[in-house]
Amino acid sequence: MKSNIVGRIAQIVPTMLLVSVLVFCLQQLMPGDPAMVLAGEERGDPRVLAQIRAELWLDRSLPLQYFHWIGNVLHGDLGFSWHIRQPVAALVMQKLPVTLQLGGMAFLIAVAIGVPSGIVAAVYRNRFWDYVANAVGLAGLSTPNFWLGIMMILLFSVNLGWLPPSGFVPLQEDWHQSLATTIMPAFVLGNAIAAVLMRHTRSAMLSALDQDYIRTARAKGLSNWHVLTRHALRNALMPVVTLGALELGALLSGAVLTEQVFSIPGFGKMTVDAVFNRDFPVVQGVVLVTAFLFVMLNLAADLLYVVINPRLRRS
């Protein structure tokens, strides 16, 4: 088992290396000369342009530029924001907790809706509640989360006046206000993931309920509740754990739009602002950090899978 875990961790290195090449290549797609953008009013002065190019290593060959950049990244230096004039790593560390709080809440909501409705759909297969769960799941998958956000603002903020339409209060500052500002965006963000979790839980439960050990458990006279929770669900949840981690990537993507709709000053909003300010080091930093988070979450899911599956522990 140890060698499997070590092997899995070792796989991360080439993946992240290729991600870094990809992120570095993004900069090469940028039209025009970055030095001209940075020079601003002084773009006509060749000495200023030469100085900027030398500072940013833009006057070196591409492989040298890459090695210089990746060396800095490995030392925690993601570059310098062209617009805000701050280190990208500091900006990321400042905004990430906001998105993590939102994402954490969204994931809890997704699990709280997706897993039980998947179980109900499987238990009542081809009956009324199965059709309802499937229809709601498909609708959830087909609803763009920014539109759902706008519709929720319209209903709960504009018409009913129950919740604030925008803004963010950190949990440690005022938990009541924090919940009020994040409940709508977290629901919006968790909605599509809940739909995916529902579909997969249903399919995994149907597969588990069809196994011989379930028939044996029922033949022993165990109650339906006991069979479902102790035997079927425990096995059905294993693929759902892996899927949950994969969906966290979708959660990071969704946060970009949700934070924009609800004006939440997080990672996603920083990305959109950076795009419009043509602040490319920030965009590069965001892609690199989200990819790293995604890879790490996948690794955590794989390790958790080993922990909760006794057969894998023994192999």
Partner: protein, 281 residues
Amino acid sequence: MSARHPGVLVARRFLRRPIAVVGLAVIVLFVAGAVFAPLVAPYDPVATSWSAIRKAPSWAHWMGTDENGRDVLSRVIYGARASMLAGVISVMIAAGIGVPAGVLSGFAGGWTDALLSRVTDAILACPSLILAIALAAFLGPNLTNAMIAIGVSTAPRFMRVARAATLEVASLDYIDAARTVGTTPFRVAVRHILPNIVPPVLVQGTLAIAAAIIAEASLSFLGLGQQPPDPSWGSMLNAAHRFLSQAPWLAVFPGLAIFLCVLSFNLVGDGLRDALDPRAQ
């Protein structure tokens, strides 16, 4: 075409699913609306009117008018063009990159497979919308670049599907037979493998169109897709966001159009999957 032709059997199985047929009918309506927009739309979608600013839905303007006095129904109809175009073209780009790469990876094996699989892992490690936003940002904000960005970020999914299907097909006896009689690897891949991996790629394609329509709407909502004054459902929602309390209808109709269109593609994708592989139900 005989009644036992696989295509006819799949079509029959598909047509037995009413919900998928309804989805297909809605898609046909959207496509027809997009193609014949000049004939169907009651007004010019970019014509502004000072006297018709933010008018609620009425007999004259069924979906109301926007902040510049433009007819929302006409803009929703014309907006279907951007969404359908983005859905189809970006999926064609994704399939054009992903399917050949997947077939090559699955058929060649060894180092080629290892390298292509790691590149796929690397692209998949970047959340697709964030990658699409970054690509659209670096390439410049317009519909063409948005389609390229969505296509490139979707390509690894096609690569995975095509690779898995190739591995399955390549292990069948008729491929061994083709190799034994001296058929070149290229010919085996193009004539014998490619046609047999169409079903899973087709299902992936249909579901990917749904995802691409949402992605285009998302990029346009952020201002990275279709640029004003040309209508697109995403950019209409962006404008509507600013007038929620004064003109809520601006946010309702473009969003409903995205929802119906994406739902229909998802229904057709599910129906196709069931029709192509009845065991998977």
